[in-house]
Symmetry: C2
Subunit: 461 residues, 2 copies
C-alpha cells in the first residue's frame, strides 16, 4: 500500500454539511477549470518544485558532498527560517530515529547531530555555540534570495566565531542559495565556500526537495534519491484533471468546498504518528502562505491551517473540534501499521483501569484512537479525512510532501489566488529593515502600532 485518502467523512450522510451525491458533477467541473488554470501556466516553468528530473545533477552533487564529509562533523547547524527550515525539521522528525540529538555518536552511526536554528533568539544561539565544538561543526546557511536578515545575522555571528577560532571558513560553512544572485552566492565565490543552488523557480515553502531540504537530510545519512523518487511517483499520479482520480485535486477540492460552501475554513492537520508530527507545521506554512491573500476581486480569502497531533491533542484541542463552532475540517495523517510495534505486556491484570490493555500493542492503540476520534467527530457532524501512507520511509515521505504541494497549487486556482507569492509579508520586512538602517529602505518609517496614538498599557509589578 502506498497512499490512500479516505474522504467518507467529508460526505453526506456521514456529516450533515458534507458533499451530496448530486454535488459531485459541479465539483468535478470546478476542479477541471482549476486544473486548466494551473496547466496553462505550467509551461512557463513556474512549478519548479515538481521538475525533479531537471534537478538531478544538483541532487547528485549534494549526495556526493554528504558522502565526502562523512565522519568529519559531530554537529550540523542549519541557519534558515520559514521555508528554509520547516522542511528539514519535518524530514529529521520523520526519518531519523527518535531523540537523535540526545544519542551518542556511536548510537547515531557517527552521523552528526542536527540543529535547526530557525530563529534569531540570542539565548538559543549563544546556548548552542557554548555547547558545540566549532572545529567539529558544519554550518549550513540557507537563504534562497541571499537576503534574509535573520539568517544573515546568524551567519555573521557564526563566521566571526569561526574566524576568531582560526578555523578555515570553507571547511565549516556551506551555503544553499540562488545559483547566481545574492550576497551568499557572492561570498561563496569569494571565499571558496561550497554552495548549492535553489532553482529560481522553486519558492521557499516548495523547496524541501531541493538542496534546502536534501542537504541537511543527506548529511544525516538519509536517502534523498528515494525521497525524490517517491515525490516523482506522486507527482505523476496527480497531474490529471479527473477529480475522482487525482488525490491532490480531491484533497484541495474537498477543503475548498468545505470552506466555500459549508463555512469550514479552518483546516486542521493532525498526524497520528510522531514521525509525521512535524509535517503539520510544514503544511501550515504551505497552506497559509500560499492561500491566505487578496483574490482578483480584492477580497481577503484563504483557509486557516492548524497543526495538531494525535492522540496528544485528544487531550487538548479535540474538545474544541467536537463542541466548538462547526467551522473546521480535520485531516488525519497516519502510517499503515507496520512491523515496528511495541506489545503492551499483560501486567497488572487485577487493575480494572489498565489490565485490559495487556495483549494489545502501542501501534494498535494509536490506530484505535485515530478511528475513535474520527468516529466521534462524525457523530458530532464534524467532517474529516484520513490520509494514510505506507511507511515512514524516504520514498513515502517524499510522496506525501509532493501530494500536499500539488494540492496547494490546485487550491490556489480554486481559491483564485496566486499560490506562489507572499506580498503580505513585505510591509513588515520593510519596517524592520528601515529601523535597522538597510541602505535601500530610505528614512525610518514610524513602524509601531503605538506611534501615532497614546499607548494603552497595563502594568503589573
Amino acid at each position: 500500500m502506498a497512499f490512500t485518502l479516505d474522504f467518507t467523512a467529508m460526505t453526506e450522510p456521514v456529516v450533515p454539511a458534507g458533499v451530496r451525491e448530486a454535488d459531485w458533477p459541479a465539483l468535478a467541473s470546478h476542479f477541471r477549470a482549476a486544473h486548466r488554470a494551473v496547466s496553462d501556466i505550467a509551461a512557463t516553468g513556474v512549478y519548479g518544485y515538481r521538475e525533479l528530473e531537471q534537478q538531478g545533477d544538483e541532487r547528485a552533487r549534494v549526495g556526493a558532498f554528504a558522502r565526502g564529509v562523512h565522519g568529519r562533523y559531530e554537529d550540523v547547524v542549519v541557519l534558515g527560517i520559514g521555508g528554509s527550515s520547516l522542511g528539514a525539521i519535518a524530514l529529521r522528525t520523520a526519518l531519523l530515529p527518535p531523540a537523535w540529538n540526545a544519542r551518542s555518536g556511536a548510537q547515531r552511526g557517527e552521523r552528526p547531530r542536527l540543529h535547526v536554528m530557525d530563529n534569531v533568539d540570542p539565548r538559543t544561539i549563544a546556548g548552542l555555540l557554548e555547547m558545540i565544538e566549532l572545529s567539529r561543526t558544519l554550518v549550513v546557511v540557507i537563504s534562497k534570495s541571499g537576503g534574509t536578515i535573520e539568517t544573515l545575522a546568524q551567519y555573521l555571528v557564526v563566521r566571526e566565531r569561526l574566524e576568531r577560532a582560526g578555523l578555515p571558513v570553507a571547511q565549516h560553512l556551506v551555503f544553499v542559495t540562488d545559483p547566481v544572485k545574492g550576497a551568499l552566492r557572492a561570498i561563496a565565490t569569494r571565499d571558496g565556500i561550497p554552495a548549492f543552488a535553489v532553482p529560481p523557480n522553486v519558492g521557499g515553502r516548495f523547496s524541501v526537495l531541493s538542496p534546502v531540504g536534501t542537504l541537511p537530510a543527506a548529511l544525516c545519512g538519509l536517502d534523498i534519491e528515494a525521497l525524490c523518487a517517491g515525490a516523482l511517483a506522486m507527482r505523476d499520479a496527480t497531474m490529471g484533471d479527473v477529480l475522482a482520480q487525482n488525490a491532490a485535486g480531491l484533497f484541495a477540492t474537498l477543503q475548498w468546498r468545505a470552506h466555500a460552501q459549508a463555512g469550514q475554513g479552518m483546516h486542521v492537520m493532525m498526524p497520528y504518528s510522531d514521525a509525521l508530527r512535524d509535517l503539520a507545521p510544514w503544511f501550515v506554512q504551505l497552506w497559509a502562505e500560499s492561500l491566505g491573500k487578496v483574490d482578483a476581486d480584492g477580497l481577503n480569502v484563504g483557509p486557516t491551517p492548524i497543526a495538531s497531533v494525535g492522540p496528544t491533542d485528544q487531550h487538548s484541542q479535540v474538545q474544541l473540534f467536537m463542541e466548538g463552532p462547526a467551522d473546521k475540517t480535520v485531516t488525519f495523517l497516519r502510517l499503515e501499521r507496520g512491523a515496528e510495534d511495541v506489545p503492551i505486556p499483560r501486567l497488572e491484570a487485577g487493575e480494572k483501569a489498565l489490565g485490559f490493555l495487556g495483549g494489545h500493542s502501542l501501534g494498535e492503540l494509536l490506530d484505535v484512537e485515530c478511528r475513535a476520534t474520527a468516529g466521534a467527530l462524525s457523530r458530532a457532524g464534524r467532517p474529516s479525512m484520513t490520509m494514510t501512507i505506507g511507511a515512514a520511509d524516504a520514498w513515502h515521505v517524499g510522496g506525501l510532501m509532493m501530494w500536499l504541494m500539488q494540492a496547494t497549487t490546485l487550491a490556489g486556482a480554486l481559491y483564485g489566488v496566486n499560490p506562489l507569492d507572499q506580498p503580505g509579508v513585505e510591509l513588515g520586512k520593510r519596517l524592520a529593515n528601515a529601523e535597522l538602517g538597510h541602505p535601500d529602505s530610505g528614512a525610518p518609517i514610524a513602524g509601531t502600532a503605538t506611534s501615532t496614538v497614546a499607548s494603552r498599557t497595563l502594568r503589573v509589578d
Copy 2:
C-alpha cells in the same frame, strides 16, 4: 519591570474594528458580571490552581525528593499526555538552557536529560528505550485520574522492561496522581513507589504548578518555589473586578469582545522568544479545551487558539494574518530585553544585503521584528496585543502562566461556559475503550466514520 499588557492595537483608531472609547463602560460592566460569576463559586473550592499556599507541603516534598535523588539519574522520562505533559514541556523550554538533551552530563551540571513522552507511538517509545540506560533512568508517570489509557499503556511497557532488567521498580518509577483514588495510587501503595498528589480541585490543563509540572522541573534543578511565588504575585494582582486594573480580565475581555463583536474568533499566541515558544501550545490547550464547548443556550461557542512563533512565522503564517480574512487577533509574547544578548559583528561591510546588520544585536533584531510585525498588522487593520514579561526566569514564567490561567477562568464566564470541564472528549474515549475491551465499556460500538456507509477512498499506488 515585571509584566505589561500593551493593548493599544486592540482599540480604535489603530484598528478599525477595535474598542471605541465609548465601548469601555459596557465592557467594564460585562467584565464585572463575569468576575462576579467566578467569585460566586470560588468559595466552593473549584479553582485549586490558584490555591498555591495550601499546596506548599506537597511542593516541599517534591523539592526534597528532587534534591534527594540529585546525581542518581542520567535521564528522566515523563509519561503523560495533554495537561500532564504540556506544562513540563513549556517549563523545560523556558527555563533550561537550549539544546539541553544534546548536552553532555558535565554541560548539564549532572542534571538529567528530560524526555517527555506525550504520545503512544511505538517507534518513539522503542527508540527512546533503546537509547537510554534504564539503570540510570527515572520514569515519572503522570495521570491525575490514574485512568489515562495512553499513559497506562506506556507504564506497562516500561515496568515490564524494568522487571526484566531486574531493577527495583520503586527506585525507577515515581507517580503523580490523585491523592487517594485510581489505579496508580493503588499500585504506588502496593509497591512502595514514591507518589505525589495532584489536588482533586486542579484539572489537567491548570496543573502545571502542581507536582505535574513541578516534579519534572525540580528534577532538572529548576526553582519551583520561585515559580509559584511569581504565580502567587500574579494571582493577587488579578483578583479584582475593575477591568482597567486586572491584566487577566483585560486580556480575556478584549479577546472575547473581538470574537463576539468583531468576528475575530481565532486567537493567535505568538511568542517572540524561543524560551517562551512552548508556552503557545500550553496556552492552546488551556484556551481551546476550557472555552470550546456548548453554552447554556445550546450553542457551540469558543475561540480557536493558534500557536505561532516569531520571527519564524513571519516566514510562514504572517502572510495569512496580514491578507487572509480579518478573523484573528494576534498576541505577541515577549521578554524585556536583558543582559543576555549577542552582538552582530561588523563583518561583510561591503555587502549591501547584510553589511548594515553589523553593530546591531540579535536581541535588538528580535525586538525590531516584533514591533515591525505589530506595526504592519495595525496598518492592515488587524488587531494585536503585546504581553511582556521581565525575564525568562522561574518567577516570571510562573507569573505568566498564572496570568493566562486567570484569564481563562474569566473568559469562561464571559463566554458563558464552564472552563473546568471537557465533556466533548468523552465519546472518543468511550469508542476507543470499547474497541480495546475496557471492562466498563460494554459491547463494542461501531466507532468508525465508515461503519454504516460505503467507504469513499482514493488510493495511489
